[in-house]
Every structure is written in structure tokens, then in C-alpha cells.
């Protein structure tokens, strides 16, 4: 066991909200939106008599599909509206497919919130560049909500979003609305498209050199597949953004979510407890080591 890790039942870490972090709280599905062919967004409310809890942008919950299992899913809703938990999930395995089969009123368990947050307060006064790849937009959305709700506190705000095809774009309606009504510079690119698509085609990293932001006064929040994040960081650094102002959200095999089991361990860090959001400067040497 890693030095400093607690032993179950002996020195169990408490959840930030004081609840038992190992006990799922009962929730019900308020509604489900189908975003793409394999991705859906669940709106969850607590069972009667159970309280909601606040969360910070970037944190995740463990969602428990009764009788099937548990899975870590980032919170993708508005942190100023914590009374409804919003999670966007891709149905790829047994648990997420079971979650996807839930209907309105369906029961599930929720543990959380866990993990570190996007540094939205520290970014005040800076330009903010969001770089999302695929479903990586979901963990960034709470930070987008926060920044746009406090728009005057930030400089330029840019969202660069890459995905597979136009049909795979998440939150398309909301992105159009934000672009039209709020001071958000949205650039979407897809890997491939037919002629019906009028937008960009190419990888998201190619957008970085095209958009205006003051590199030395920029905080970059990056979430997506790790290879995409690696190349994104290279481009951001080439543009002049320093590694300590680039924040990434890592995905590892989170199981306990409280830094006990070690499944998500990367070097000395537990992604569930010390992350998932890290300054890139803190993890750059770890993510490049294949053995961890």
C-alpha cells in the first residue's frame, strides 16, 4: 500500500460533504437526453428525504447501476444548480449500458462528489481556453457554465472542440446558443465529414494556432483522450502557454474513488483523490512513463 494511504474501516477518508463516501445515495432519473448514437445525458434527483450536494466543476461521482456495478462519471451539469445532478455517459460497457437502459423514475446510487476541480477561480483575470476532445467536453461543461455565468471576470474565452463526425457533437444546441448569445468563441472541428457539414475538418490541435488569446495570460483546460491531450499540450506550449497554466483531466481505472484501492494510481498520485484535474506540470513526467 502506498505510504500515507488510509486503511478501510480504520481511517476512512470523509467525503467533502461529510457523507459516508462509500455508501451510495439513492437517486432517480428525472429525464434522459440522447446526445448521440451511443451517448446520453441523465438528469438525476435524490430520493425523497435525501439531500442534494454541491460540487465543483471537474469533479466526478461514482454511479451505481443496481446489481450491475459502479462507474466513475464526471459531473457535466451547472454547478450553480446542484439540485439536479447531470451526467453525460457513453454506453460502452455493462454498467454504462445498464445506466443507459434506465427510464424516467429509474433508481440508481450515487457516491460523491470526488476529486479535484478545474481552477476556475484562479483563472479569473486571464484568457481561458477550453480544449475538448470527444466526450471530454462533458467534464469541461461545468467549468464553461461557471465561466460564462461570471463572464466579466475573464478575458477572452475560447472553446476548441474536436470530435469524430458532425453527428458526434455533444450539446450541439447549447453550443449554438452559447456562441450566439454569450461572449464565447466556439470552434468545432471533426475528423471526417460529408459535404453537408459546413464547419472545420481536421484535428483539434490545428485550431490552437488560429484563435486569438494572450498565451502568457491564458489558462488552458484540456480534456479528452490522453493522446489528444498530449498533442494539445505541445501545441499550447508552442503557442507560449506555460505548463503550470495548462490543466488536464486524467482518466484512470477509478474504483473506490477515495484513494484506497490503488486501481487509479499513477506514480505517487491517486487520480481519484489527487485528480482527476491536474496542472500539467505536475503530471507531465508521470503520464510519459508507460510502466505506470
Amino acid at each position: 500500500m502506498t505510504s500515507g494511504a488510509a486503511v478501510v474501516g480504520e481511517d476512512r477518508p470523509a467525503a467533502p460533504n461529510g457523507a459516508d463516501p462509500m455508501r451510495p445515495r439513492p437517486y432517480r432519473v428525472q429525464r434522459i437526453e440522447h446526445e448521440t448514437s451511443d451517448t446520453f445525458t441523465m438528469h438525476l434527483v435524490p430520493e425523497v428525504g435525501h439531500a442534494t450536494f454541491p460540487f465543483r466543476p471537474g469533479q466526478f461521482n461514482m454511479l451505481y447501476a443496481p446489481g450491475v456495478g459502479e462507474v466513475p462519471i464526471s459531473i457535466s451539469g451547472d454547478p450553480s444548480l446542484p439540485q439536479v445532478l447531470v451526467h453525460t455517459t457513453r454506453a460502452v460497457g455493462a454498467v454504462t449500458k445498464a445506466l443507459g437502459r434506465l427510464e424516467k423514475g429509474g433508481a440508481l446510487g450515487v457516491r460523491g462528489p470526488f476529486g479535484t476541480a478545474w481552477p476556475v477561480e484562479e483563472a479569473e483575470g486571464s484568457d481561458v481556453v477550453f480544449v475538448a476532445g470527444g466526450i471530454g467536453l462533458a467534464p469541461l461543461r461545468p467549468a464553461l457554465h461557471h465561466v460564462l455565468e461570471h463572464r466579466g471576470r475573464y478575458g477572452r474565452v475560447v472553446l476548441l472542440y474536436g470530435t469524430r463526425t458532425p453527428e458526434d457533437i455533444l450539446y450541439a444546441k447549447q453550443l449554438r446558443k452559447w456562441r450566439a448569445e454569450l461572449d464565447l468563441d466556439v470552434h468545432v472541428t471533426v475528423d471526417r465529414a460529408t459535404r453537408d457539414w459546413r464547419g472545420n475538418v481536421g484535428v483539434v490541435t490545428t485550431l490552437i494556432s488560429r484563435v486569438p488569446f494572450e498565451a502568457r495570460q491564458t489558462v488552458a483546460l484540456v480534456c479528452g483522450p490522453e493522446v489528444m491531450m498530449r498533442f494539445t499540450v505541445l501545441e499550447l506550449e508552442r503557442r507560449g502557454v506555460s505548463a503550470d497554466r495548462i490543466h488536464v483531466s486524467l482518466e484512470r481505472n477509478m474504483k473506490c474513488a477515495v484513494g484506497l484501492c490503488g486501481h487509479c494510481q499513477i506514480g505517487p498520485l491517486f487520480v481519484c483523490r489527487d485528480g482527476p484535474v491536474f496542472p500539467h506540470a505536475r503530471v507531465r513526467d508521470l503520464v510519459s512513463v508507460r510502466e505506470v
Binding site: G69, G134, R164, D168, R192, V201, T205, R210, G224, F231
Partner: protein, 157 residues
């Protein structure tokens, strides 16, 4: 022709080029305009230009008999389009058409090839710069091929 030299000098692609060398390049340059939907080039045709996009956007496409034209890349203001002019047999590998009204500087590839054959310093400078363009395209293509945003094959939950 030569009035394009100051414009070329401001483009990062030509940064650091000696004025005399840039003048040789500018001698092969001309302004071009494409209306929205207009073809820029077609697969198999002779590739005798490359373009520096000044305004608008161009889609590069591959034609699939089963899917029709598939857009594989878009280029926009500031981007360089085309390097088939540099590589024998000097034929376009893909199609391209303007998505919007597009203005660009066209560099005559035949003219440049001839100048590069007689002035190897110019040839080396252009090759160094195009090696960067080609390298960036290759990186981007490899990332696209990885299909990073697809559902992960392992650790399914």
C-alpha cells in the same frame, strides 16, 4: 507581380527569407479568387500551384464511390494548401473546393520548380518550409487515423 512581395513577407511561412529570395518567389505569385462552391483543384489534374489562403475556407476532399465526397481537411486564412506541386508526378491527390468566397495567393509551382532547379539555395529554403507543412499534415493525419474519439476498446465499464 512584385507588389505581392510585401504581403508574402508578412506570412510566417516565408519568415526569415532574404528579400532577394522572396523576390524570386513573389515573381511566381498571383492573386486568385474562388466563389463559394467553386472547384480549386481536382484529383489527378496537374498540380502546378500551391495556395496561401488570405480569406475564406477551402475543403479538401476524397471521393468515395460508396460515400460520395468526404471532407478530410479544411484550410482557412493563413493556411498553406497543396504540396503536390513539389513531388513528382505533380498531380493533385485530392479534390478541393471553396466553402466560402475565398481569396488566396497562388504560387506557380512550375515557375518555382524551374527557379529551384537553378537556385538550389531557394530550393533548400522552400523544401525546409514545406517539410514543416508536410510534417504537420502527417501528424494530423496520424491523429485522425487513431480515431481517438471512438469508444475505448479496453477497460469497458
Amino acid at each position: 507581380m512584385h507588389d505581392l512581395q510585401p504581403l508574402l513577407a508578412t506570412h510566417p511561412f516565408f519568415a526569415g527569407l532574404e528579400p532577394t529570395t522572396l523576390a524570386l518567389v513573389a515573381g511566381c505569385a498571383s492573386n486568385v479568387k474562388f466563389d463559394a462552391g467553386q472547384r480549386v483543384f481536382k484529383e489527378g489534374e496537374e498540380a502546378n500551384q500551391f495556395y496561401i489562403v488570405r480569406q475564406g475556407r477551402i475543403a479538401v476532399e476524397a471521393f468515395s464511390p460508396t460515400h460520395g465526397p468526404l471532407v478530410i481537411q479544411t484550410v482557412e486564412e493563413g493556411d498553406i494548401l497543396g504540396w503536390s506541386w513539389l513531388v513528382a508526378p505533380y498531380k493533385w491527390r485530392f479534390d478541393a473546393h471553396a466553402l466560402d468566397l475565398t481569396r488566396a495567393i497562388a504560387l506557380d509551382g512550375k515557375c518555382l520548380r524551374e527557379k529551384c532547379e537553378t537556385d538550389h539555395d531557394l530550393g533548400y529554403e522552400l523544401l525546409k518550409r514545406f517539410a514543416n507543412v508536410i510534417g504537420e499534415r502527417l501528424d494530423a493525419t496520424r491523429l485522425q487515423l487513431l480515431d481517438l474519439y471512438a469508444a475505448p476498446a479496453g477497460r469497458l465499464k
